[in-house]
């Protein structure tokens, strides 16, 4: 059984309630307990929620941190959030929509289908290599490099705006920051001061996974990392993650705000090439995944990785390893990126490859490798001719080094995990880099002074003097807990939240639970008979 599911099933009703509330309110954002207590479910006390937080920490579903001398904050790691969501809302599903109810317009058809982001990241890395991998003397990226990479990424600023994220470097466009963030996270790029190195082994290791694995891992990364800044988006992203592949879905039946967030997230996923959009005959927008987010366990296939046609076209199936595609990015012209990527070996890119120090011999070794058989002779002769038109000067460049590393196929499947970067290029609200993780609190600490109050206050219903009643109420307020009141012979829970005083004396406001209903009430001490403090039981996970 899934570990997260096991832990959630073992939670108390209080723990589960707390989990639901904090997920809805904060998503993956850090929060203080006071913030959570403003959104306590009617009929639940703050103490119950506080105990719930401790329970969740002990269950490993939540963590707490402190930054310097600041407040203690709680947070749910991204992947954990996504996994919990499925278990907390098991009955929440989108409406499945049949394809026969969809309408098609020629304008929509003519729009360019976005390439899956994984492909674009590969193009971005290739552009980075083509630009030389060099930073400026001030340690920033050259404008030309950024422009080329951003063009390859083709991310729409409009769709990214909903994430409410910003690059750490103000002058850096967000798409470039996101690209660097992932590249550093995966360890393809290693920044050493002003130098940038391409760690080809790790890049190859990523490229050589199946497309399904690459893209589904990217979807999970974006869901866990970049949906964090906006709680409604985090919830939408987690919900949408669970939709089945290739099934048209609509969230229109859900609560409006949530539905809007879902549409926003789906729009972003579509722009990143992972979903498709359509419109029903009734004018409703529907979406479906074109990525299988299930556990893609199939291993990548071995060579041939591509097929080379005698006319110079090279076909690279996208579902397989992209070792071939990446190499071709450095020596050929990309004709199209689609279900099958198509490259063209022709004069201009090969001349440039020669000028960048890539020898014809290396190119033929690569082509024979990816093709699984000898390249057609006519094409060999054409390539020789084109390369001879280059400057003829052999030199070492970032591009030639990368190509050589690619050829040695030194991908180490046991690559050690990449080191976390100094600073992430994207400012993320749940970045715990400067925080100290804390241990779960002792539940007893929530009820300071419990030993000093009479046991009878919390063990039995009794009549008290108004001043003592006030004391009990004040204790309940401090401990954010409930009291039980005998009102006209019925014992009813009451959660006080404020004591008010005026010329008539003192009264208390709070939530009164009566016959299953919770109502905001103002009570004067004479309005009940007996009372007692309610100290919630702590369910240790």
């Amino acid at each position: 059984m899934d570990e997260t599911r096991k832990r959630i099933e073992c939670l108390s009703p209080n723990g589960r309630q707390t989990l639901q509330s904090l997920m809805k309110q904060f998503g993956m954002l850090p929060f203080r307990d006071e913030q959570l207590l403003r959104h306590v479910h009617p009929g639940c006390s703050g103490a119950e929620y506080r105990l719930g937080l401790i329970e969740l920490e002990l269950a490993g579903l939540l963590k707490s941190y402190r930054k310097g001398w600041g407040d203690k904050v709680f947070m749910m790691p991204g992947a954990q959030f996504r996994r919990c969501w499925r278990e907390v809302y098991p009955t929440l599903h989108p409406i499945a929509v049949d394809e026969s109810t969809l309408q098609f317009s020629l304008d929509a058809i003519e729009e360019e289908s976005p390439l899956p982001l994984g492909e674009r990241l590969m193009h971005g890395v290739a552009e980075l290599v083509n630009c030389g991998l060099a930073q400026t003397s001030k340690g920033s990226w050259p404008k030309r490099t950024i422009e080329k990479v951003v063009r390859a990424l083709a991310m729409k600023e409009y769709d990214l705006a909903q994430l409410k994220l910003a690059a750490r470097e103000p002058s850096c466009p967000l798409p470039y920051a996101l690209f660097l963030d992932f590249a550093l996270h995966e360890g393809w790029l290693v920044l050493e001061g002003r130098d940038c190195r391409l760690e080809t082994r790790r890049l190859l290791s990523w490229l050589n996974q199946t497309q399904a694995k690459r893209e589904s891992a990217l979807v999970a990364f974006w869901t866990d990392q970049y949906a964090a800044a906006v709680p409604s988006l985090a919830n939408a992203a987690a919900f949408v993650f669970g939709w089945p592949a290739l099934q048209w879905c609509s969230p229109a039946h859900l609560e409006e705000r949530f539905a809007m967030a879902i549409f926003d997230w789906c729009r972003l996923m579509t722009s990143l090439g992972w979903m498709e959009k359509a419109v029903t005959l009734g004018g409703q927008h529907v979406y479906r995944w074109v990525v299988d987010l299930g556990e893609a366990t199939s291993d990548s296939a071995g060579p041939p990785y591509a097929q080379i046609a005698p006319d110079g076209d090279v076909f690279v199936p996208r579902e397989g390893p992209q070792y071939a595609a990446f190499g071709l990015e450095l020596i050929a012209r990309r004709v199209s990126s689609d279900v099958v990527g198509v490259y063209r070996l022709e004069a201009d890119p090969l001349r440039k490859a020669a000028e960048s120090g890539i020898s014809g011999e290396r190119i033929f070794t690569f082509l024979n490798q990816i093709n699984g058989e000898a390249v057609p002779l006519a094409l060999v002769m054409a390539i020789e001719g084109w390369m001879s038109e280059g400057s003829g000067e052999m030199r070492e460049t970032a591009k030639s080094r990368t190509f050589d590393a690619l050829l040695s196929k030194n991908e180490n499947k046991e690559c050690p995990a990449p080191a976390a970067p100094e600073d992430r290029p994207v400012v993320l609200p749940h970045d715990t880099k400067e925080m100290t993780e804390l241990r779960p609190s002792d539940p007893a600490a929530l009820f300071q002074g419990l030993d000093s109050v009479p046991v009878t206050w919390r063990s039995q219903m009794r009549q008290y003097h108004p001043s003592t009643r006030r004391e009990l109420v004040e204790r309940a307020l401090i401990w954010r807990t409930a009291v039980k009141l005998n009102i006209r012979g019925q014992a009813v829970p009451f959660i006080p939240d404020k004591l008010v005083e005026d010329e008539e004396g003192w009264r208390v406001t709070g939530d009164l639970s009566l016959d299953g209903q919770v109502e905001r009430t103002l009570l004067a001490p004479h309005m009940w008979d007996e009372m007692m403090l309610v100290i919630p039981e702590f369910t240790k996970y």
Binding site: F104, S105, L106, A108, I109, S113, P116, Q211, A212, E215, A245, L246, E276, A278, V290, V291, D292, Q307, I308, A309, P310, D311, G312, D313, F315, P317, R318, E319, S336, D338, V339, V340, P376, L377, A378, M381, A382, G385
Partner: protein
Amino acid sequence: MLKREDRPFIVQSDSTVLLDERHRDAEAARQSLSRFADLTKRPGHVHTYRITPLSLWNAAVAGMSADEVIGELGRYNCYELPQKVTSHIRTLMGRYGQLKLIRGEDGLLRLRGEEKLMEQLMAIPYLAGMLNESGDGERIASPEMRGALKQELTRIGYPVIDLAGYRHGESLNVQMREVTRGGKAFGLRDYQKRAVDMFYCEERMDGGSGVLVLPCGAGKTLIGIGALSRLHCDTLILTSNVTSVKQWRQELLDKTTLGDEHIGEYAGKAKEVKPVTIATYQILTHRKQKTDEFEHMRLFNERNWGLIIYDEVHLLPAPVFRMTADLQATRRLGLTATLVREDGRETDVFSLIGPKRYDMPWKALEEQRWIAEVTCSEIRLPLPDGERSTYEEAAGVEKLRIAAENKAKTEAVSRLLERHRGKPALVIGQYLRQLHEIGERLNAPVLSGELPHAERERLYAGFKSGDIPVLVVSKVANFAVDLPDAAVAIQVSGSYGSRQEEAQRIGRILRPKTGENAAWFYTLVTDGTKETQFARRRQLFLLEQGYQYEVTKWEKPLLGTAGGELEGMGAN
């Protein structure tokens, strides 16, 4: 992006289809695709098709529905069909049939469709200028607007079913012979009969106009004659050059009951208008000054033509398109080996000539031995030292000429002909000096543009009969010359022209041969020169057509020394 099935093709989201010919189901998939997609190229194992608006409308004309097309794609596709592609198909095919053109009793044209669509169309100023209000879901146009209306509607994505009918034209008593005038038994081949049937479409009101696509060597001329004989009417035949005019005439006389008095040539010096008149595009578009009228366009109105045949319709010049727009009441037959036009006016062919009615795959013809199996080879020759320095010092077109006129080529031609001794061969080139040198070395006549037509006809006749085993020809061979028994073609220099010229050169040797049904096409290229660039372009074209292509180096020592062989002859 999802699970891959073991099937023969992959549909890309831009409506390209990549077919792997090695797959066990490739042939079935190919046959399916040919009904609604156009083959773009077929180098190597992966053949590329495109599903275009035209290919879908042609499928609709042939009776296919969008569901059928999508079903066929789904059957052979490795992955889930991209939604963009299914949307594309449904929307475009859904448009076929939405508009119909009918002739009213008053002679006016009636464009009929849903009123909502009519209103959308009337919002387009150019269309509104051609149409007048009538009733709900109907607009009226004058008969003269028939062509222009269809052209514009097709251009904006709304093909029209033309049910306005045709005039029969002047009757002509003509039948196909069972025995040719030359005394040979004759009959159309099955696929030729089928092509004529598909064009005529007797049972359909929208039949009677369209384009037939058949590879070079498939006998398109005979199919044109078959259509003419079926319709029994005065016919105007338009073709690309004078030699082709002669060829049509010759075939009409040989294969039909028509006599000299029925056939007129309207080209060059001749300006005969007879029940069957054959003219060139060139004469129709001739004018002394750019501001003058096209005086010969009146040919279209000289007789009551019942049929106009556009031979090599892919070469139709723009002015002829314009004239054709006014001839929509006359049946129109387009013949071509490729619908791809250099100027991209395929939609005009569709709207003004008619939809594709028949498309015979090259491979099927080869397998049925209706055309020869061709092997294409490029032979790279070194430039002799003495010529190398001249080449390096030259500039521009002079460099090309030096490379083309490489003296080593003459020796290579001789060796190649030796290899194919006894087979009728053509040596084709661009530079007359070189051609004359080769002619002298081989003791073969040289056929060039300088020769009068009569002399050219004499040399053709000699080549056909076998009296002349080798003919050296210049650019004139680019044109539609009928030399049925050429088995070998050696290209010593090219005009480096369009793809159509390359197709025609191959076409010269594609006719089926008795005995060994094979043909060879050689191109001699000087290594280390600009010629190799043009060679690559040619190579690409031939590869895309699916021809086997080999490249070898000529290892013979420099001229003047003995020995040397063609090394490395064989597959890539």
